[in-house]
Amino acid sequence: MFRLLQIEFIKLWNNTAGKLLIISYFALILCMALIAAIKFDIGPIEFHVADQGVFNFPYIWHLNTWIASGLKLFFAIVIVSMMANEYSHKTLKQNLIDGLSKKEFIASKFLTVFSFSLISTLFVFILSLVLGLCYSDFTEISIIFSDLEYLLAYFVKLIGFFSFCLFLGVLVKRSAFALGFLILWFIMENIAIRFLVWWLVGKEASENIMRFLPLESMSNLIKEPISRFKAVKSMVAQVGEVMNKDYAVHFSELLIVGSWTGIFIYLSYALLKRRDL
């Protein structure tokens, strides 16, 4: 297992473009800390984001994982090209001839995706912990470590999404086209399927089906946290609306994304096995 990771590390780390993208991805996550620096100072109104309670435990886990998961699209470029380059450089063929089995090849890619998701999750955890300890109103241990399921959801979401990217890389073989296909798939899921079912059966059925589609199920894992924010809540209350939204991470949602991960990895392997190179 360690050998497979090493193989993939050599391939990625010696690629200047790949290295740059990986570093900038983590740098962008780090930039989340800059939210703390947002300060409006317009005469009598003084607004400092960090003082508004956005960094309160345990809300910070939800907010930060949600923002960080928005950056995953950026990292998708690395994952897709990591796979598609093997085809365009024909090194996949050479790897197999040199004695890597097709199973090992997919395993090495998946292990890389797994490690990146893990590192990214740890990174977000440490960053949020530091930000929270600096700005949070509550710093009791029990509060700090509540709602940690958002981190698990973040991890599962990343693995699911990157596995999808891997599969697209194997399927399409060209990084640019694979990314195009990813966007096309997103449009298809959100417009074609959502409205087709809505139109044919009804709104409820449409939402039920959407829950099971890969990209939608991934985005369902962590719901948007903005409307949960106290200031927003009070604003909504002033208008006279009451919001009852479920923000929790559900086990069934984790299971759906987990299954998609399995399906994508298996399909990549099956496709690779069937193909003549």
Partner: protein, 347 residues
Amino acid sequence: MIIFKEAHGRKKIIIIIIIIILYCNKTRSYSSSRHEELKNKPILESILTVNNLTKKFGFLAAVKDLSFSIEKGNVYGILGPNGSGKSTTLGIILNVVNQTSGDFSWFGGTTSTHNALKKVGAIIERPNFYPYMTALQNLKLVCKIKDVGQDKIEEKLALVGLQERRNTKFSTFSLGMKQRLAIASALLNDPEILILDEPTNGLDPQGIHQIREIIKKVASSGTTILLASHLLDEVEKVCSHVIILRKGEKLYSGKVEDMLATHGFFELKTADLNALVTLLNNHASFGKINQENGLITAFLKEELDALTLNQYLFEKGIVLSHLVKRKESLEEQFLTLTNTPTTINKI
């Protein structure tokens, strides 16, 4: 079958079960006998055995029912015109092309294919490496894949003469250098067998010469080599055994010298042709005798050297003006085997 048709319901099921049991027994006894066979194998170490290999691309069969085996220590050539299935065959045994039917086994079938490939060095068509990595980085990666130490890298780079370029990116290499790097990479694990597919394709004469020198060096160290090529002189110069393919079918496999006319032939000229022909016809060593433009071509049935023949004819009163002993070239044999009219070459 008749019994089966007459039987109904439960009887039918019983018959089916019996058939299944019989079938299982049969396969079991087959596999055990096969096992015995493997145990009592001759001392000749088999590197690769290919049985009834077939590959179809749609309707087109690229490889048809191909069987051959490769033994340790020999240098094999796979010969065939373009599109005869050479590369497809190599692709199948190297795990990158899926066969339609048939099977192959490496090293007596004791290890899985991908583990066996770690003991094989292979170059297929063009050299494939990561263009953004240097020669050294690429070789280190291959070491990791083959699961061998990195201590051989410098030695192999020296063998192919790429030591000064070890820290240059692969994308800046010329084709000849890329090909040499591929050979170095194939040799990293000191392979049991080196497989080369058209290694001199697209190279300039100097490059071709360099590659051949390297192949000869490797062959002299006792490594088994499998060389696919359509360049006959290449195969003739290097190989001891040859497999000839045409349209995916095997036409010949065996030693190169067995394939060439067994004992060669004499080309003779003299003043009195008729006397010579009668004399040769009565000689036990000669088979077919052709006469063309005053030149007699006499094919040998058994070994006979030029000196003995000359002396014999002189004693019989015939003085030769022309005496040459030749063997048929691989090219002539190859063209006859692949049914291409040789006359084209003469024009």
